[in-house]
């Protein structure tokens, strides 16, 4: 990517951020940035470049979702409960990016603790869609998605638990990647639901995202769930898609799907055929279990993961009568309504007498969903193609019923439950708003997923943004 100096690239990013009003008065995509620190870091990278020591992404500016620990800035998770907290250590993904010469220019807004699909549930106010301030950018990684879509940086980091990169990527018209579970270290990613969480990547193009993933992927001895599996270059380019079998799972094309999105998907499938791919209708019969299973497993893990925010050691402390009073006052004041709702839900489903009915049942459903994918990929399907979301970006405040909001993740949560990689890329516009198409691949099938995505991206050309 880099041809200019790191300082030029960083200066351009800040200039663009000013132009698009990325701060709290405008898009509210950025929670923290320090131009001077970024400039100094860029100067260091330039010196490394001059000495021929710089890494593969030297000077590339990146925005980072604010639930990923960075040194030199706050890490807020979009929550008041982490008021004043500064991480004494950095996420492995960030370390790897810095080693490669990447410069973190901003921490971006998110739904509190990544719980949401619209970036409306941030303690620091909602992020606006770059094309229409009345709309949501999607979420929970809405800040990074909006920043990349607005052209501030070409790449950004987000995190996924149920679609929090792919869904805002689709809404904002950029590429979003959720890697295989275990592909990227979670060390330094503040946990929402540990068995589902993965750091994901936004890119202006498939190439952008692939290059960043290549740098952050790989085994990390500090994350017992990261897997020791070779990291390919992710730069494979196929002249055509002959021999590639693309599956079209019927459960992802329901009647409620916005017909205009369905049309764009059909167009993309036509492009696949034109490239020589075989498109085959398939079924993933347990898909309907995904949302209920997800909304048991994710809150259950969250209720435990968020127990550490208790006012004892760091972050917010609100004193009240005694220890119990302090706990209650701190957590009641520190967490917003959506986080509170999920903690309550999670606490409930893990309670004595309910565990088997809820958690154990949800885990069985998860196994069925995993098996659906395994069977499908085993039957000769290379990748699956689906819409990323059932609708384009929706107006802020329009989903007051939590369950309705949860349904906007209906096509994305399955990949998190199954641990497989997924990618959303722009496939056209609906009433001027971007729509995303999703590719799903088998575990550690990112290389093939990127190759197919590149082929589609190229075949669609300008259509992807029309």
């Amino acid at each position: 990517m880099p041809a200019k100096s790191a300082r030029d690239l960083v200066a351009a990013a800040f200039e663009r951020a000013n132009v698009v009003h990325a701060g709290s008065e405008g898009l509210n995509a950025i929670l923290w940035s320090d131009p001077e620190a970024a400039h100094n870091e860029a100067a260091k990278v330039d010196r490394r470049l001059a000495n021929g020591e710089a890494g593969p992404l030297a000077g590339v500016p990146v925005v980072v979702k604010d639930n990923i620990a960075t040194i030199g800035s706050p890490t807020t998770c979009g929550s008041r409960i982490l008021d004043g907290y500064r991480s004494p250590f950095e996420a492995t993904a960030i370390r790897r990016l810095r080693d490669a010469g990447v410069i973190v220019i901003a921490k971006t807004n998110l739904d509190e603790f990544a719980m949401g699909s619209s970036t409306e549930f941030s303690a620091f106010g909602r992020t606006k869609h770059p094309l229409d301030a009345s709309l949501v950018p999607g979420g929970s990684s809405g800040g990074s998605a909006a920043a990349v879509a607005a052209g501030i940086t070409r790449v950004g980091l987000g995190s996924e638990t149920g679609g929090s990169v792919r869904q805002p990527a689709a809404f904002c018209g950029v590429v979003g990647v959720k890697p295989t579970y275990g592909r990227v270290s979670r060390f330094g990613l503040i946990a929402f639901a540990s068995s589902l969480d993965q750091i994901g990547v936004f890119g202006t193009t498939v190439d952008d995202a692939a290059q960043v993933l290549r740098v952050i992927a790989g085994h990390d001895p500090r994350d017992a769930t990261s897997l020791d599996f070779p990291v390919p270059d992710y730069d494979e380019r196929l002249p055509d898609l002959r021999g590639v079998v693309v599956g079209r799972p019927r459960e992802y094309f329901p009647d409620q799907l916005d017909p205009r999105i369905a049309e764009l998907c059909d167009r993309a499938l036509d492009r696949f055929r034109e490239l020589g791919a075989t498109v085959r209708d398939v079924s993933l019969p347990n898909t309907e279990l995904a949302i209920p299973a997800y909304y048991i497993i994710a809150p259950a893990e969250a209720s435990s993961n968020l127990a550490r925010f208790d006012g004892v050691r760091y972050g917010l402390r609100v004193t009240d009568h005694g220890l119990r009073g302090m706990y209650e006052a701190t957590r009641s004041n520190g967490f917003g309504p959506e986080v509170t709702r999920r903690i309550l839900l999670g606490t409930y489903v893990l309670s004595a007498g309910y565990y088997d009915a809820y958690y154990a049942t949800a885990m069985r459903a998860r196994t069925l969903i995993e098996r659906d994918f395994a069977d499908t990929f085993q039957s000769g399907i290379d990748v699956l193609f689906t819409p990323t979301t059932p609708t384009p970006a929706f107006p802020a405040g329009s989903k007051s019923d939590p369950y309705e909001m949860y349904l906007s993740d209906i096509f994305t949560v399955t990949a998190n439950l199954a641990g497989i990689p997924g990618l959303s890329l722009p496939i056209g516009r609906v009433g001027g708003l971007p729509a995303g198409g999703q590719l799903l691949a088998p575990h550690f099938g990112e290389a093939r997923m990127f190759a197919v995505a590149r082929a589609l991206e190229q075949a669609l050309g300008g259509e992807a943004h029309r």
């Binding site: 890490t75 991480s87 540990s194 968020l306 606490t347």
Partner: protein, 496 residues
């Protein structure tokens, strides 16, 4: 070590037992594993470090930090489970035990719940004759991390938290309700402690908290098949506290039952000061821990190879060692037990026997002089200045009559003091046995003159006075004279 003194568990009646009721006890023992680093991070585990100095983002539960299992923990836990003859599970699962407490940084403790590392073991308890008289069944052994320490009495109006202990590896060893008296519980605990020490899996030091005991106790009419309602006893900080608390709680339960009242299932705290039990406040009561598998840690899989490896490297255990001392060294049950009380004492004994092949004499010296010196100096055998080879050198001198028994004890004392060898001390202090007849006759003449009365009476037939006169000669020689030769020469001199 008094494993044997407590004998067969059912042979000893509980101190306050109503003869109409039977005590039923199960024990939960938490054992801190002897690792250099914590269970899920690289922090040190040393006791007594300044508060909150052995901590890092992982054991502080900072956001984004993740646990990674210390494999040494697994090895030590497997070693204990193997020695307790448990069924080892190829796959076990770490679970989160969720509760809020200021010394629990993550708001949950990493433990194992429905899929523990090991189940269904047992520990044999021996009687005074060294015979296994009963076996206590082990329900389960699981791995968990410790919480930090809350200090409530240091600062006025505030509690302090020390998180050095947070994340330190433990195993919990749970028994079936197989114990029928406080003494039986004590015997089990002492046997277990000795076993763990032999295995080198733990310091088993109750004062430093590396071994902690909770007891479940109930009372039932003698002959009843079903169990009574149990209570859980906590705050037991020594084995004798366990025994006394069990007796006190059993007496309380018997009293309730006698009056036709019900025992309430609850947690009771032992108060060593007043020797009574009292109910724990409700917040010390059981919680709904909302256990679920820890998604940060993959299931723990132990291969058959690894288990075989552990089994191969299992040291000789106390019971086997006692049996060997009886058969190979011809020692009696009592001596075998005393010498095997700790692994290091047994090692000391065996090293000395290797250098001085007279097990009975070595045993007497180790049990007598060595242990007395250790007690007097409050030292552990590992720090004792007289090493096994040094003791053997002394016993060699004694066996060859180069020094007398009296001199040997004097030399031993000087060896402890100076750290010098036995021969050197004997030489330097003039404690080598004198067998030169000229020198011996010289002392005999002096004694005959000084104790004329006794000498005359002896010469006239009071033979028993010969020993007294030998004693005078020994005293005059400062213990250096060879007593047997003195005896001969004195008899000759007096014509008896």
């Amino acid at each position: 070590m008094s494993v044997r003194e407590t004998a067969a568990p059912d042979a000893i009646p509980a101190a306050h037992a109503d003869t109409r009721y039977e005590m039923v006890v199960g024990l939960e023992v938490h054992v801190q594993l002897l690792t250099r680093t914590k269970a899920f991070c690289l922090c040190a585990t040393n006791f007594g470090a300044p508060p909150n100095s052995n901590v890092c983002p992982v054991c502080l539960g900072l956001p984004g930090a993740l646990p990674v299992l210390n494999e040494r923990v697994v090895d030590l836990a497997l070693r204990a489970a193997t020695a307790l003859e448990c069924r080892l599970h190829e796959t076990s699962v770490f679970a989160r035990k969720n509760y809020f407490y200021p010394d629990l940084p993550k708001g949950y403790q990493i433990s194992q719940y429905d899929r523990p590392l090991a189940t269904e073991g047992h520990l044999a308890i021996e009687n005074a004759a060294g015979e296994a008289t009963s076996a206590v069944r082990i329900t389960r052994i699981h791995i968990e991390e410790d919480a930090g320490k809350s200090i409530h009495d240091r600062f006025a109006g505030a509690s302090a938290i020390d998180l050095n202990r947070a994340g330190v590896p433990l195993i919990e060893i749970v028994t079936e309700p197989d114990l029928r008296s406080a003494a039986a519980a004590g015997a089990y605990l002492r046997t277990l402690k000795q076993l763990l020490e032999y295995l080198e899996v733990s310091d088993v030091n109750m004062e430093e908290g590396s071994l902690r005991v909770d007891a479940n106790v109930s009372a039932r009419p003698v002959g009843a098949a079903t169990l009574g309602t149990k209570t859980e006893l906590k705050n037991l900080n020594s084995f004798s506290a366990v025994e006394r608390a069990l007796d006190a709680e059993f007496a309380r339960q018997c009293d309730l039952l006698d009056r036709g009242q019900r025992v309430v299932q609850q947690t009771m705290l032992w108060d060593a000061g007043s020797s009574t039990v009292r109910p724990a406040r409700s917040k010390e009561e059981s919680h709904d821990y909302r256990y679920f598998p820890d998604p940060d840690l993959p299931p723990l899989v132990v291969s058959a190879d690894r288990i075989a490896q552990i089994r191969r490297h299992l040291p000789e255990l106390p019971a086997a060692r006692r049996a060997r001392y009886r058969s190979a060294f011809g020692l009696n049950a009592y001596d075998s037990e005393v010498l095997t009380a700790s692994k290091s004492l047994g090692d000391y004994f065996e090293d000395a026997v290797r250098a001085h092949n007279d097990p009975k004499t070595v045993a007497n010296w180790v049990m007598g002089e060595v242990r007395a010196a250790l007690n007097a100096s409050k030292r552990e055998i590992d720090q004792f200045p007289v090493r096994p080879a040094d003791l053997a050198e002394l016993l060699d001198l004694l066996a060859r009559d180069t020094v007398s028994g009296t001199a040997a004890k004097r030399i031993f004392a000087l060896m402890i003091e100076s750290g010098r060898g036995a021969a050197e001390i004997a030489q330097r202090e003039g404690l080598l046995q004198v067998r030169d007849d000229t020198a011996l006759r010289d002392w005999i003449e002096q004694v005959v003159v000084e104790h004329e009365t006794e000498a005359t009476r002896c010469a006239k037939g009071e033979r028993k006075l010969l020993g007294v006169l030998v004693g005078f000669v020994m005293k005059k020689s400062k213990g250096r004279a060879d007593p047997r030769r003195v005896n001969q020469l004195l008899a000759e001199r007096l014509g008896v």
